[in-house]
């Protein structure tokens, strides 16, 4: 297991390093999906340069990092050579991966042990309840309330209350919400929480929108660059086309997140009240209302 | 003061002057100002510049001096590279009068024509270093003619294709003027699409407002000059000018007549008038109360004997005439070669 991790990490590091030094680097760094105003290294370099020239980098609409970030980046750019900088990038990426991997592992083991205990507890009173269609209201209303209001800040408290027993899912939801509502949507944010997706494999059987969301996301990721090209290069389509696609992508993500959250509720219910969906010969349906 | 005396003297001499016309005596204002604004730029808006320059020409002819006219023009049509007749602006295909003549003083030009500058001008909140020519130095005795032309919509007038003034803002600016005693009466004329929406939010007294079109109507251009390739004047302004051309400084034409200059079959839009804020009857108000200029005259019925200071005047007149010439643009190089 350890060996596999190591080899994977080395491979990933090498790919990252080669990409940084290849001619694709410029292509990738020019892609609007990858490099936004908030995470563009070019802008950081320019901001630092302006700062060193004695020009306030915040006056233009160029530099969006924090002032502390400015000092740090200034230090980095002045004292570290290009090679070390590249290695630093690779290192931070790998570090993120390690943390993500460890967290996932930890969570998975915890989940299994917890589930076993709960199943044991629940199996004892399994036979007592077997309504064909079970309606449970009170658990859900918080959910709906939280998704009605379209300000991400308002999600924090209701979600925290509802998911207090599952901090990992809570973190996942926060990450997704941040990615959805970020002012400059970026593939990195989406990729970050998507990489945690395998954690919810046990929820997949309860999801309903998988196909729709999948199609939607695929469609948007292919469609966005084409309309971007038409807007910026051939000037035939305007900004609204691209904006529309990013909006559609955000909607797909909202569908996706909602689906995962509902699936977790259903899963919880199934664990508590028995997993067997087969009730007196008919397949029971879980209904959320 | 000298002038005062002379005028009084003459009035005294012409015995008919004893009967001063009713309306003349009751105006109650002591000076006239005009604020003429073109808010739109670009070559295809040539007609708006022609509009405002035509009104400028008329009020100047009727006696308002340049120092009391604030002329705001958002674009320089005369020097537009597309203009086949450089350095001119025409407003009528038949009579070739260049309304952009030698003596046009533009006070706010190009990008200086902004909502902020316009409101600051009206309310007198300009920076202290602003030159006199850019200030509206009115008092409680001033009659002001405000003429606006450009592209408007319901409740706003576009400035420079980048910002708008809303009718509410304009109404508030006029109220501030009233509270600061910056006017006696205002004749407000606006020639844009849906122009009447501009005066709907006025609430200050002594304003007579005229608009070239009602809400929901477009203000249309009058005619095209194919030699220039653009429409050169708007309908309402064209007929208003037609009327003003016949007005003399001494004329007794009334505002009521002015309000009827452009019936619907001429303008193709309905001219809107708002009289409820205006205290006088337009039928008894001469147009020269706004379009002309009142000299500062004090009327007196008592007889005063004045000696004409004829001699001193003469000596002044014989002052040796000095010929002015332009300084050479480039230094004369021939001296050095």
């Amino acid at each position: 297991m350890k060996k596999q991790w190591l080899s994977n990490f080395i491979l990933a590091g090498i790919i990252r390093f080669l990409l940084m030094n290849s001619e694709y680097q410029k292509v990738i760094s020019d892609r609007v999906e990858v490099s936004t105003a908030l995470n563009s290294w070019k802008r950081v370099t320019e901001g630092v340069y302006l700062y060193n020239c004695g020009i306030d980098p915040y006056t233009g609409d160029l530099f969006h990092e924090t002032p502390i970030g400015l000092y740090v980046f200034n230090f980095i750019q002045q004292h570290l050579s290009q090679w070390i900088l590249f290695c630093l990038f690779v290192f931070t990426d790998l570090l993120t991966a390690v943390f993500l991997g460890l967290t996932a592992k930890q969570y998975a083991t915890e989940l299994i042990s917890k589930q076993k205990i709960e199943e044991k507890l629940c199996n004892e009173n399994k036979e007592t309840r077997n309504d064909a269609s079970i309606v449970y209201t009170s658990m859900i209303w918080l959910f709906i309330a939280s998704f009605q209001i379209n300000v991400s800040l308002l999600y924090i408290v209701p979600l925290a209350l509802r998911l207090r027993h599952d901090p990992m899912l809570l973190a996942f939801s926060y990450l997704a919400i941040i990615a959805i509502f970020k002012s400059y949507p970026c593939i990195g944010d989406v990729g970050f929480y998507m990489s945690l997706l395998p954690l919810w494999k046990h929820l997949f059987q309860y999801t309903q929108q998988g196909f729709t969301v999948g199609c939607f996301m695929l469609f948007c990721t292919v469609f966005a660059p084409t309309v971007w090209y038409q807007w910026i290069y051939s000037r035939s389509a305007n900004a609204n086309f691209y904006f529309g696609v990013t909006l559609a992508f955000a909607i797909a993500q909202i569908f996706f997140l909602t689906d995962i959250l509902f699936a977790s509720v259903k899963h919880e219910f199934a664990v508590r009240h028995g997993i067997n969906k087969d009730i007196s010969g008919n397949t029971a349906k879980l209904l959320l209302e | 003061m000298n002038l005062n005396f002379i005028v009084t003297f003459y009035i005294f001499h012409l015995s008919c002057a004893w009967e001063i016309p009713d309306n003349f005596a009751k105006t109650g204002h002591s000076n006239n100002w005009a604020v003429l604004v073109d808010t739109s730029r670009f070559w295809f808006n040539y007609r708006h510049v022609a509009n405002v320059l035509s009104i400028y020409r008329s009020v100047k002819r009727l006696g308002i001096p340049d120092s009391q006219i604030i002329l705001m023009i958002a674009d320089d049509m005369a020097c537009n590279p597309r203009n086949p007749r450089p350095a001119t602006v025409f407003n009528n295909i038949k009579q070739h009068i260049n309304v952009y003549g030698d003596d046009v003083e533009v006070d706010y030009r190009g990008y200086e024509v902004t909502v902020e500058n316009f409101v600051r001008l009206l309310t007198g909140r300009l920076a202290p270093e602003t030159p006199r020519s850019k200030k509206l130095l009115t008092d409680e005795g001033s009659n002001i003619l405000i003429y606006l032309t450009g592209h408007g919509g319901n409740g706003f007038l576009k400035f420079q294709d980048s910002e708008e003034i809303t009718s509410k803002e304009l109404g508030d600016a006029l109220e501030q003027m009233w509270q600061k005693r910056r006017y006696h009466e205002i004749l407000f004329i606006v020639d844009t699409c849906q122009a009447s929406s501009m005066y709907e939010k006025f609430y200050s007294p002594n304003i007579l407002a005229v608009a070239s079109s009602l809400v929901g109507e477009d203000s249309l251009s009058h005619h095209l000059d194919p030699a220039i390739g653009v429409y050169i004047i708007d309908r309402y302004t064209y007929y208003a000018l037609d009327f003003l051309e016949k007005v003399e400084p001494s004329s007794s034409k009334t505002l009521e007549e002015f309000l009827k200059v452009c019936p619907k079959h001429y303008c193709l839009s309905t001219v809107g008038v708002r009289k409820d804020l205006f205290r006088r009857d337009p039928e008894k108000v001469p147009v020269t109360d706004f379009f002309g200029s009142l000299r500062p005259i004090e009327l007196t019925t008592s007889i005063t004997n004045v000696l004409l200071p004829a001699k001193t005047n003469k000596t002044k007149a014989i002052e040796p005439e000095r010929k002015y010439s332009y300084v050479a643009q480039f230094p004369d190089v021939s001296k050095f070669t």
Binding site: Q209, F211, L218, F223, S236 | L224
Partner: protein, 630 residues
Amino acid sequence: MGLLTDPRAGSGKIIKFLLKWERPLCFFLYISGIVWVLLLALPIFNDNTYFSENALLPGLVTKESNLEQITKQYYTYLINEMKRYPDVMPYAWLAAKLNQLHLDVFTHNFTLIYPFQEQRFTGQNIYGIIRAPRAASTEAIVVSVPFRPIHSIYLDTAPSIALLLAFAKFCRKQKYWAKDIIFLITEHEQLGIQAWLDAYHGVTSGNGGVLISGDLPGRAGSIQTAINLELHSMKIASIDVKIEGLNGRLPNLDLFNLAQNMIAKEGIRQSFQRRFDVKYKNKFKNWWYHFNTLLMMITSQATGIPTGNHGLFHRFGIEAITLEGFEKPGQQSSDGNFYQVGRIVESIVRSLNNLLERFHQSYFFYLLPSTDTYISIGLYIRSLVLIIGGIFVKAFSMWQRLQVSASTEDKKNIVVKQSKDDGFDIGIITSEILWAHICGVTIATSPFALTYVGKKLDFRTEDSIYFGFVVITILTLIWPFYFKRQMKYKNAALICVIALVELGTVLMCIAMHNFSLALLVAVIYVPYVFILPIMPKQNFTKFHRMLSFGWVSLHPFMIASLIIMCYTYVNFSSDSLPLILFRGYRAIKQAFVFSIVDSMIYGNWLYNVTISTMFPIWFLFWNILCSNIL
């Protein structure tokens, strides 16, 4: 919110309905899409064209030019000069004439290194610039003419060069230009203009090292619009306005409108797709006529090949059209009418001079059934959305069936054994899809290898590419038979679902750039995709076998060959059948080479996109049809 929370939206009546009516629904959507296209030519679906751009001031100004005599003079001289040097462009004469008018005259040399053969061709463009007298040189208008030698296979353009010179002379004297005017005479048809544009903007549009555009000695402002003139006679009876550009890009509708209006104003018949506006009293006839015009535009746009030199400007965000003037057939040019033609050009350029920004107000996406009506994107895109909707319905219902079968299978499996193979085999699916796409990309880049091998065998480029493609086609056809595999139905169906979703997405993306191409592809491929028999082999009937064999004809190379054959048959239907076949064979060979060379010189993406997207999709289906599904 209901959509998200209500589970009935996920697994309720709608899905049952979809599963029950899947096939009829797909075909209903397809047919309604087709019907929608047919309806587009009806007058009630068209809007009359209008000017959106205020600054244009179309035709308001008095036209002052009278270019009749001067054009004739230039024409006589030019013809003499061309006769003296029948094979080359009279560079010196043209440059001298422009110099006489006191323009800034420059020549531009370019080199084409013909791909695959390493042959070099050189050419020269000549251009003169009139600087805007009272404005900074920040914007420019281009008036261009392609020079054609006297023995050219294309129609003569000498009259338009004469007009260009005469118009330049006229413009030189005017003081109202707010933009520079560039008078450009190009050589070698689209190569010249492409090289000039590349050099003007300092870029290389095609592959590197193919068209070497060099540098320009003189420049004007950023080019706003361009008018390309192709007048074939000194007596013009009608003018055709051509708009289709590279990769199906169209100029702004305002520009098209402007040209049509100005032509009509001067009393010359205007046409679109060489078809005049004819109003039949019979409504059906009227519709049929307009529909044909529409169809011609769709087919010409779908190829992605520019119909004139204007088409290469579009890439740079420059709106451009070609005015092609024809004489009345059978009429000898006795006295010209360049008085009118000159005034048309004058009034168009004068209007363009009024522009303050680039064209942006009116439509960029439209279809035209006549010269004075248009169909906006909001209307026509619906037809394609309906057709593509069918694809997604098919994909979704297949997916739902898989879910249902998976859950029932699960039930059995749980009872019998906790088997491992209840899910999809992701490995097989991924490798299948990956390999299909790798094949696509490989074939898209294969011409280099093919010509390399061909050269060793002493083949001509055409032959080596054609026979290479034939070999590739045969290989791809027999590949699945050779590696006969077994595949679970579930995996096969999932591959189909993915291929369907890909097809839908690709079509929509193509539609954003070239609606006509997407429409034609959709019309051909979609119904066949609906009826493809994706089912276990034991259920196969003869009919199913035939259906799956029919899929061969939709191989991108096959369908391209078929279309070209049909086209040849339509154009040369009077010839004998073997002759038609031979002609068709030659045309196919040339078409393949041209599409590849176009992609390298101009960046035409028809070849690359069809091979790297449509081929993998075809190949995925073909693999599944041929493999032994359990």
